[in-house]
């Protein structure tokens, strides 16, 4: 699964292709429509191009660190995204087990972007689990904790896992182990987390499989001494 932003920009692009192809087919048909009949599709192509531009501006703003910084309830976000992924997990007979620290302080950032990171990590975990052998426990774990003035979120699967070399390469742009993946999901995710002042990394999970972790600085904790007396 490519990250949300890539998916999002593909939507207007797909619409543009449909409108253009639909118009070309009409022009080439035995009864070509009037110019007026094509006008609406051209108008919509323009609208969709604007929409794609808006999304790309959002990506650019993210790169510049110019994105909304509002308090985010990470636990609520996790619950929401786990719910989004539950039907797919169930279809693969997978349980998503959440261990959330109920005293988690809010972090500052763009909830939409962080939500996309979570979806990406969960999507990868589900996909990795589908490659696990039959005797492996069908579970994905998501946990949230606080440590050293940072919120830590971890998504662990029991898939085939990573070699130490691939553990770092999976964050490279256009690196993918999937037959037809784009190889941008984790690169974008790491980018988003870093733009929020956090870190995203992969390691071998204690249960086998892959453990992906990210940190985000908590609001009051610009000073670490304060957060950890």
């Amino acid at each position: 699964m490519a990250a949300g932003l890539v998916h999002e920009i593909n939507q207007p692009l797909a619409s543009i292709i449909n409108y253009a192809r639909g118009a070309i087919r009409r022009i080439d048909s035995a009864n070509p429509p009037s110019l007026e009949g094509l006008r609406d599709s051209l108008e919509r192509i323009a609208q969709q191009a604007y929409h794609a531009e808006e999304i790309s501006n959002r990506m650019r703003n993210l790169i510049k660190g110019d994105f909304p910084k509002l308090p985010i309830d990470i636990n609520a976000l996790i619950i929401d995204k786990v719910e989004d992924c539950t039907p797919e997990a169930q279809a693969q007979n997978l349980l998503i087990h959440s261990e959330l620290d109920l005293k988690l302080p809010p972090v500052l950032g763009d909830g939409v972007q962080i939500g996309q990171v979570l979806l990406n990590l969960l999507g990868n975990a589900i996909e990795a689990s589908s490659q696990a052998d039959q005797h492996t426990q069908r579970v994905i774990t998501v946990c949230s904790t606080v440590r050293d003035g940072e919120v830590i979120v971890q998504v662990g699967d029991r898939g085939p896992g990573l070699s130490p070399e691939t553990a770092e390469r999976i964050f490279d742009w256009f690196y993918t182990t999937k037959p037809r993946g784009l190889g941008v999901g984790l690169a974008i995710s790491r980018f988003i987390i870093q733009a929020h002042g956090g870190k995203l990394w992969a390691q071998v999970s204690p249960h086998g499989g892959t453990l992906l972790s990210f940190t985000l600085p908590i609001i009051e904790s610009t000073n670490q001494e304060e957060a950890c007396p």
Partner: protein
């Protein structure tokens, strides 16, 4: 929505307004009728059972909602062929879609010719299913119009008994069996014994070689 068995409709379900509108525009460009819906529920509310066509289902995030819809459609008795549009490289979703009964899946971004070909195939499949169902119902109706004696004769005939043996079994004359047999052939509209055997399988009085339909 009025039921029109002659003219199939391509039903497009996509929660992205621009995508469903543009898909409709594309499908209509080859002269097909299309209707679009924002959700599976909106489609189910509007769909009248029996309307021919096919479904074009975009499985967007949250990822499996479209696949849930596949189940719901089947439960609601909708038997239209379903084409699932998946994200690029989303193999697990594609696999789940096929397991869920989709006839095809198309990856985004798609080549519009492939999509339109897939739609045409799905419509052809829907048409064939409908024809076969109509034929089946007709055969069942004809069989019901036979007298019980004629039904009995038909069973023996398709099991390969000669008129002489049937006459013996039923304790009637050969001539009588011939009359019944001729009646069976004409009432069933069968042109040959092979034809009659096919019908017997449809009706369920001959199962040895498994279900053909």
């Amino acid at each position: 929505m009025t039921i029109d068995l002659e003219s199939p409709i391509v039903f497009i379900i996509d929660d992205d307004p621009a995508l469903r509108h543009s898909l409709k525009w594309l499908v209509e460009s080859v002269g097909l009728r299309a209707q679009s819906f924002a959700s599976g529920q909106a489609f189910l509310d509007a769909y009248e059972l029996g309307q021919s066509g096919c479904l074009l289902l975009d499985v967007r995030m949250p990822r499996m909602s479209g696949l849930h819809l596949l189940q719901k459609l089947r439960q609601a008795g909708v038997d239209l062929p379903v084409i699932v549009i998946t994200g690029h490289g989303d193999v697990p979703v594609a696999v789940a879609a096929m397991k869920g009964g989709a006839v095809d899946f198309i990856e985004k971004p798609f080549n519009e010719q492939l999509l339109l070909d897939s739609v045409q195939n799905a419509l052809a499949q829907d048409h064939a299913q409908r024809q076969s169902r109509i034929r089946r119902q007709e055969v069942i109706k004809r069989f019901a119009s036979l007298t019980s004696r004629e039904q009995e004769v038909m069973k023996w005939v398709v099991e390969g008994l000669a008129n002489k043996d049937i006459a013996e079994n039923l304790a009637v004359s050969r001539k009588t069996v011939e009359v019944h047999r001729a009646k069976v052939m004409s009432k069933m509209g069968a042109e040959s014994l092979a034809d009659l055997i096919q019908m017997a399988i449809v009706v369920g009085i001959l199962r040895e070689y498994g279900e053909i339909y």
